[in-house]
Structure formats: structure tokens, C-alpha cells
């Protein structure tokens, strides 16, 4: 096996063989300057960088000493090893892979940047979050900040001299962002004075860069309560002088950093803005449009968090696979010779765990990558109908990518630990840390419950259900192709039935929202996961269709690769997608026990 950390072959498979980007994207506007060789060189460079430079910085404990972000005398220090990485990352241009040449980017397709991000995240999520958040914040500045500092800030951020964050959460405003208390008061010069406390701010403070740009949600004095009254501000950690040079601290103080389950290398900060009434912020976009603006970053980060779910699952699986081939324990159950012991990969139950991991990882990777592919299709669209079709696809996929990939990612991380047995529970092997790191992905960027509500309450009904039905149609078309080629007949029928169940359930839920809303509200998370199980079923049929065609001429490792795709598809669809109609049936049953039960009855 090439690498325990990154799966370069699967990336090439998705980009070239499944999406066929050579035909669909490359050479066409806005990707007219790009070709397959370039893409392969980029993937190759990313894999090398991830494996050789990022992976060695992964462990959050070395010789029983923690490797973590440290808070000391009011300042935050990132782990020592991140400094060199940050510099290399920025110098190599990874901060602007898919960005416009106008901001110094390479304008590569989003799917290519996502493939690289997958490999970086697979080797160290805590580190990769620093540039990831920085990129998201820079995008906001690029799109919405109209201020003389704009160009200068963009240059600093895209070259990695400055970093960025996203500041939504407050102690009293987590899932309910509208409850925030941070205020903004207009200064005579048009800037604002920001006052308030944000908590849980990832990469909120560190010593990797000379300055940090915080996009901060706050309410301008006198504006209405709730999300409607929220505006967004660019708040630099250090003041920016008129000539662009860095001034004194902008009254942004780090109160503390969290001690947490995972991602120890990433600082999770409490930030106090304006404790001395001197914190200056600059409006982004229009007043009271803060949520609209921030959603641009939130969508990017939600898709990114989905990718985190995939990435940690992928590297955990590859470690578990290598371990299973190596660890000798017990004898072959069919031969029953206690003197002949075998590697655990020969045991049927270990194979079950491995194939579940493999088929889940590869399925959610394609789901996640498909969302980025949709962004490229939107960028490359030649008319408005196409633009809207792909925009709609992104809308509906985003909550599914965020929640399903992190939910299933955790299932894989759990199985990876299980594959190792007792050693998996110990820090000697990285799967223990991977499972801890994975947990946050289901929580931040809007918990998976919030994603489920977004899907059910907002996304399904968008454009009277058109976006939802477009996605279903896309999947049905994929199945039709497999059917016409006679590939995976039974499995294709299973996915088809699951798609129908999703459509019926969505419609019935829309009705129930009016008559008995508790049914769909209790079911929302399960429904999202059923939708994910179904989409991943379709993606497996797609991959198996490609693999079947390629198999005819493949030999050696390549033959194994394609065979693996087909077996993975069968396993996933028969054991997971097949359950969707039954699960949907149960969700629709008028079962509201979770609401009927009194709070006291939960436990006395």
C-alpha cells in the first residue's frame, strides 16, 4: 500500500475517471489554462507535502509530552512544528489553489483544491484549520469588504503573512447565533467600536502570523434583535495604520484557550473585544446583512468540515488496513490449526470492519467531492439555467456533506480503533487521536442537528422542491446508465428504491410539518442520514460503473483497485442503502415518544 495517510489513487480516480474533468472542466472557461498534466502535478505535490511534511506533525503527544496550542501571559503559541509548515504551505501557494489570479491564486477547479485539502486534512486537521479558516476569512474580504485596506489585507492573507478566523459563537449564542450580545457603535470616521466576548474561536490567536483578521458578528446599537439585526465587521488583532503598517494591539484580548478532547494543536480561544473601549472594526457588506455575508464563509467551512470528516476517516482506515495485514493473532477459522497463526485480516469479522470502513470512506469522499464538482460546474456554466441547477445542487448538498460525512466519518474512526483491538485504544497508535479529533466535526459549524433542520426546513423546499428534485434526477440518471450497461443490477434497484423512499418521505414530512411537526422534527437527523446512505449508494453505483469498464484492460494493482470498487459498492448498498426504505417507514410512523415523555420521566 502506497501510504497510510493519503489516498492519492482514489483522488485521481474521482477526478479523472469518475468526474472526467478533462472533458467536463479543463480547457473550458474559466479553466482554459489548465490541463490534466497540471492537475496531476498539483495532486502529486499535495500528496508529497502532506505525507512528508504535515504527517510528521500529527501526534498531539510525543514522549508523553503534549503537543498543543499554549496560552501563556495573555498570548497564544501554536505548536513549534506548525511554524515551518505554515511557511511552506503559504510559499507553495496552497492558500489560493482555486482562487482567482486577481488575488494571486491559481484558478484551479475547486475539486482539485478539495482533493489537496483532503490530503492535508488527513495528515493534520488541527494544523490545516489555520490556513483553512484564513482562506474563508480572506474570501469574505474579497467579496464584501469595500475599504481602502481591502487590497492590502487580501495580499497579506493570501500570501500567509496574516491569518483569519470566524467569530460567531458567544457563551450565550451557540446554535442560536441570533442571541449574540456583541455590539458595534459607529465612529464619526465611519468605522465602528466593537464590544463583546466571543468564545470557541478556532485559530483565534496564535503566533504563526504578524496579524489576524477577525470577521466578527455584532449588532449595531439600536438594530433589531435576532439574526435580522446582525452586521459583520473586519476586526484586526493589531490596528492597521493609514499606510497599511501594523500598529498597536486593537483592544482584542485573548481570555483563555480551551483544553479539549481533540485537535489540540488548534487554539480554541475566548476573545474579548473592546475591554477598554478601543476595539475598531470596519463594516463588511451592508448594515444588518451580517448573516448573509457570513453564510458565504459558513458554507465554505461546512463543506470543509464535511471534508474533515472524510479525511480523518480515510487516514484511520488506511492505518487500520496496514495494521490488519501485519498483526498476527489466532488461526484461520476454516483451517483451525492453532499452530498456524494468521494476520487478523484473514478473519471474516475483521474483513467486515475493513470493508465497511473502505466503502464508507470512498462513498463519503465522492459525496463531498461531488459538492465541489458542483461548484466548478456552476463556475463553468454557460447559461443561467445551468448556473441555477448547480447552485441548487450545492445548496441541498451542503448540510448533507457537513453532517453525513462527519457522522459516518466517526463510524469509520470507531471501526478503525476496533480493528486494532486494545492497541487502538492506546496512544502508541494514531487511530486513538484520530477518533478524538473527529468528534469536533459533528459539532462545530452548526451541529449536525442544525444541519438536519437546515435540510428539512429550508433546503428541501427551496424553489418549491426544484433543487431537491434536480439532485434526485441526477442520481436517477446515473442509475439509468448502470442499468443500460447491466452493471450491479440488484444493487442499482436497491438504490432506486431508496431514492423513491427519500422522495416520498420528504413529501410526507412537508405535510406533517403542518399537521404533526414533531414527527419530522424528531426524525430530521435520521432523515438526513438516510438521504446520505442513499446518495452514497448512487455514488457507489457510479464508481462501480466506471470500474467495470476499466477492469477489462486492467492488470496487477490496477485490477485490484477496480475490483475493490465493485466489492465495496455491493457491500455498502446491500448493507446500508438497502435499509433506507425500512428506516424511512419507521420515521414516518406517528411515533412521538421523544416528545410525549415528560422531562421528569427522562430520569429521576
Amino acid at each position: 500500500m502506497a501510504s497510510k495517510w493519503v489516498d492519492e489513487r482514489d483522488m485521481r480516480f474521482i477526478l479523472h475517471e469518475v468526474f472526467n474533468i478533462q472533458e467536463v472542466l479543463l480547457g473550458k472557461a474559466p479553466f482554459e489554462d489548465h490541463d490534466t498534466d497540471m492537475v496531476n502535478m498539483v495532486i502529486d505535490a499535495a500528496a508529497k507535502f502532506a505525507e512528508n511534511e504535515i504527517a510528521p506533525t500529527y501526534p498531539d503527544e510525543v514522549h508523553r509530552k503534549p503537543v498543543e496550542a499554549v496560552f501563556k501571559d495573555g498570548k497564544v503559541y501554536a505548536p513549534e512544528s506548525y511554524h515551518r509548515l505554515w511557511k511552506l504551505y503559504a510559499e507553495s501557494g496552497w492558500l489560493s489553489t482555486a482562487d482567482s489570479p486577481e488575488v494571486g491564486g491559481q484558478g484551479l477547479p475547486e475539486v482539485v483544491a478539495a482533493a489537496c485539502a483532503n490530503m492535508f486534512l488527513a495528515t493534520n486537521q488541527a494544523f490545516t484549520m489555520y490556513p483553512g479558516l484564513s482562506h474563508g476569512a480572506a474570501k469574505l474580504v474579497e467579496k464584501f469588504f469595500e475599504h481602502p485596506f481591502r487590497e492590502m489585507i487580501l495580499e497579506k492573507m493570501f500570501t500567509g503573512q496574516w491569518a483569519g478566523t470566524m467569530c460567531l459563537t458567544e457563551p450565550g449564542a451557540g446554535s442560536d447565533v441570533g442571541a449574540l450580545k456583541t455590539t458595534a457603535k459607529k465612529n464619526p470616521d465611519g468605522s465602528y467600536l466593537i464590544t463583546g466576548t466571543k468564545c470557541f474561536i478556532s485559530a483565534g490567536d496564535h503566533d504563526l502570523t504578524e496579524n489576524i483578521i477577525h470577521p466578527v458578528l455584532a449588532r449595531i446599537e439600536g438594530d433589531p434583535p435576532g439574526t435580522k439585526g446582525i452586521s459583520i465587521f473586519v476586526v484586526p488583532k493589531f490596528s492597521i495604520k493609514a499606510d497599511g503598517s501594523i500598529g498597536a494591539l486593537n483592544d482584542v484580548a485573548t481570555g483563555n484557550i480551551e483544553s479539549k478532547m481533540g485537535i489540540h494543536g488548534n487554539s480554541t480561544c475566548t476573545l474579548n473585544f473592546g475591554e477598554n473601549g478601543k476595539c475598531v472594526g470596519y463594516l463588511m457588506g451592508q448594515e444588518r446583512e451580517g448573516m448573509k455575508v457570513m453564510f458565504h464563509m459558513m458554507n465554505e467551512e461546512r463543506q470543509g468540515v464535511g471534508m474533515m470528516g472524510v479525511a480523518l476517516a480515510s487516514s484511520a482506515y488506511r492505518h487500520a488496513l496496514a495494521y490488519a495485514k501485519d498483526r498476527v493473532q489466532g488461526s484461520n477459522i476454516m483451517q483451525k490449526d492453532p499452530l498456524v497463526t494468521v494476520p487478523i485480516i484473514q478473519h471474516p469479522d475483521v474483513r467486515r470492519m475493513l470493508l465497511k470502513q473502505k466503502s464508507t470512506v470512498e462513498g463519503i469522499r465522492l459525496l463531498c467531492m461531488y459538492c465541489y464538482f458542483a461548484m466548478d460546474r456552476r463556475k463553468a456554466a454557460v447559461n443561467e439555467a445551468e448556473t441555477e441547477k448547480w447552485q441548487g445542487m450545492i445548496e441541498i448538498l451542503t448540510p448533507i456533506v457537513k453532517a453525513y460525512c462527519t457522522e459516518m466519518g466517526m463510524v469509520v474512526n470507531d471501526l478503525a480503533v476496533q480493528t486494532y483491538g486494545g492497541y487502538g485504544y492506546c496512544r502508541e497508535y494514531p487511530v486513538e487521536q484520530m477518533m478524538r479529533d473527529q468528534k469536533i466535526n459533528a459539532i462545530y459549524e452548526g451541529t449536525n442537528a442544525i444541519q438536519a433542520l437546515d435540510l428539512l426546513g429550508r433546503k428541501l423546499g427551496m424553489k418549491k422542491g426544484l433543487y431537491f428534485m434536480n439532485l434526485i434526477t441526477e442520481a436517477k440518471n446515473g442509475l439509468a446508465k448502470a442499468k443500460s450497461l447491466g452493471i450491479l443490477k440488484e444493487e442499482t434497484a436497491i438504490v432506486d428504491a431508496a431514492l423513491d423512499a427519500i422522495v416520498t418521505t420528504a413529501m410526507e414530512f412537508a405535510g406533517l410539518m403542518k399537521t404533526n411537526p414533531y414527527v419530522p422534527l424528531i426524525a430530521a437527523s435520521d432523515f438526513l442520514n438516510c438521504f446520505g446512505d442513499t446518495l452514497v449508494g448512487w455514488y457507489h453505483v457510479w464508481m462501480a460503473t466506471v470500474a467495470s469498464e476499466k477492469l477489462t484492460n486492467a492488470t496487477g494493482q490496477e485490477k485490484s483497485f477496480y475490483e475493490g470498487k465493485i466489492e465495496g459498492a455491493k457491500f455498502f448498498i446491500n448493507r446500508t442503502t438497502a435499509l433506507v426504505p425500512a428506516k424511512c417507514g419507521i420515521l414516518k410512523n406517528d411515533d412521538t415518544s421523544a416528545m410525549r415523555i415528560s422531562e421528569e420521566a427522562f430520569g429521576i
Binding site: 490541463d35 497540471m38 502535478m41 505535490a45 484551479l108 498476527v328 499452530l339
Partner: protein, 256 residues
């Protein structure tokens, strides 16, 4: 300053090598190909010299069509242009033919210093650098771990058993790079984008006007003998197990 860096495309060290059934070479369809790691040191040193003293870097590579990827990698690292010597006539070329072909291509260019890897990790022959120097009648500095350029001459360090040699020579010369010379940079994204637009001259044997007949021929490629399976000694009594290990070491492995 006109700097030349010679590069060879070789199988990735991680690649699973399969010898062709008839022993005529290795199956090359599915392996991943990379730039010879020692050549990477050469390219890096060439780029550093250019950054310090100005000039340009030309990469020269002999290999089949796929070797263009390796040339592009060097261009993405920062080299300015490439020469790709590509001709089926070179399919069975030995170091003599390769050295002469590279020398013939280099001869057509202004050259102050020529970098090669000290050897290629596929055939491990370690002759091409010297062949080029001979063909061009230039001084050769082999297995170099440090290069200092001083206007019209270079000083290099070559480690030897228990000491190092400081060698000085006039330009032009051939330098073969050893591990430790530098840390090759990563191809940056802007570099990868620019590489596409940099010129690469493709030349065949007749354009270079050289003989392609190899002096040494590989008669047969033979895979290394398969490793015999390991032996696991089972049992509950450590003393008995240790005695068995000792017996096997003495009688079977004849190690003690």
C-alpha cells in the same frame, strides 16, 4: 550564469516492481514515475546558484515520452527551459550512450556548470556524470555535498572516509550531487502553472548526431530471490521456545 541540470525519470521507491516474464526489463505500465532523488539535489543546487548569481537553468533529460513529466517537475521547481532527448533508438541505451547523448545536447548550449545526480536509483550505475565530463573534456567533481561558486571557479566539498576533501576547479565543470547537498524545494503551485509555458526542445538521435549502439547490454533482468517465509515458534514455555530459537539459529540459519 548558464547552468545545466541533468534529470532522469525513475520508478518511485514505493512502486511495486515487476520483472517482465522474459527478463527483458521491468513492467513499466502502472508504476509511478518520479525524478531521480539525486537529480533533485542537482536541480535544487542549480536553482540556488541561479538565485544567487543570476543566469538560467536548463534541464536536460533523456527518456521516453513520459519523462516529459519529470522535465515539467524541474520547470515547476523553477528551471527555465528543458531539452528532452526522446527516441526509441535509446530504449536500450547504456551509460555510455546516455552520457554521450546528454553531452551532445549540452554542447549546443552555453554551459558554465553541469549538475547530475551521483547515481540513479533504478540502475545504480553512477556513470553518467563522469561520461558527460569525459565527452565534453571537462573537470568532474563527484559525490559533492557543498558547492561554493567564486566567479570563475568553484570549490566543492566531497566527504570521504573520516574526512572531507575541499576541491577547487575552473569552470565549466560537471558536479554530481550527493545526499546532504541541500533540501530540494517543493514545486509551488504558481511554479506548476508556469511550467506549462516554459519551452522544452524535443530532440531525437539524428538531431544530436550520435551513435546509439550500447557498449554494455543488460542480458537479463532477474527479480531478487523471494524471501523465505518467517518461522513463528509457538508454545507456552519461554525456556523451551528460547532453546528452539537457539537450535534453529545454530542448525538451520547457521548464524551461531
Amino acid at each position: 550564469m548558464n547552468i545545466i541540470a541533468c534529470v532522469k525519470q525513475v520508478p518511485d521507491t514505493e512502486a511495486q516492481i515487476k520483472v517482465k516474464a522474459d527478463g527483458s526489463g521491468i513492467e513499466d505500465g502502472q508504476i509511478k514515475w518520479v525524478m531521480n532523488p539525486y537529480d533533485e539535489f542537482g536541480v535544487e543546487e542549480a536553482l540556488k546558484l541561479k538565485e544567487k548569481n543570476g543566469g538560467d537553468v536548463t534541464v536536460v533529460c533523456l527518456g521516453p515520452a513520459r519523462a516529459m513529466e519529470t522535465i515539467r517537475t524541474a520547470l515547476a521547481m523553477g528551471a527555465d527551459k528543458g531539452i528532452h532527448i526522446c527516441d526509441p533508438a535509446f530504449d536500450n541505451a547504456d551509460a555510455f550512450v546516455v552520457g554521450n547523448a546528454l553531452a551532445a545536447a549540452i554542447k549546443t548550449l552555453p554551459h558554465d556548470i553541469i549538475f547530475c545526480g551521483q547515481r540513479a536509483i533504478d540502475d545504480d550505475a553512477g556513470q553518467v556524470g563522469s561520461m558527460i565530463a569525459e565527452a565534453l573534456n571537462l573537470p568532474q567533481l563527484t559525490l559533492v555535498t557543498k558547492v561554493d561558486f567564486a566567479g570563475t571557479s568553484v570549490k566543492v566539498i566531497r566527504p570521504i572516509e573520516g574526512a572531507q576533501l575541499l576541491i577547487e576547479t575552473s569552470l565549466p565543470c560537471v558536479v554530481t550531487a550527493q545526499k546532504g547537498l541541500n533540501e530540494p524545494r517543493y514545486a509551488s503551485l504558481p511554479g506548476i502553472m508556469k511550467a506549462k509555458k516554459k519551452p522544452v526542445d524535443v530532440k531525437n538521435a539524428s538531431a544530436l548526431g550520435i551513435a546509439t549502439e550500447a557498449k554494455a547490454k543488460v542480458a537479463k533482468t532477474i527479480p531478487p530471490p523471494a524471501r523465505p517465509p518467517g518461522k513463528i515458534i509457538c508454545g507456552d514455555d519461554p525456556a523451551l521456545k528460547a532453546a528452539e530459537v537457539a537450535r534453529l539459529l545454530r542448525e538451520e540459519a547457521k548464524a551461531i
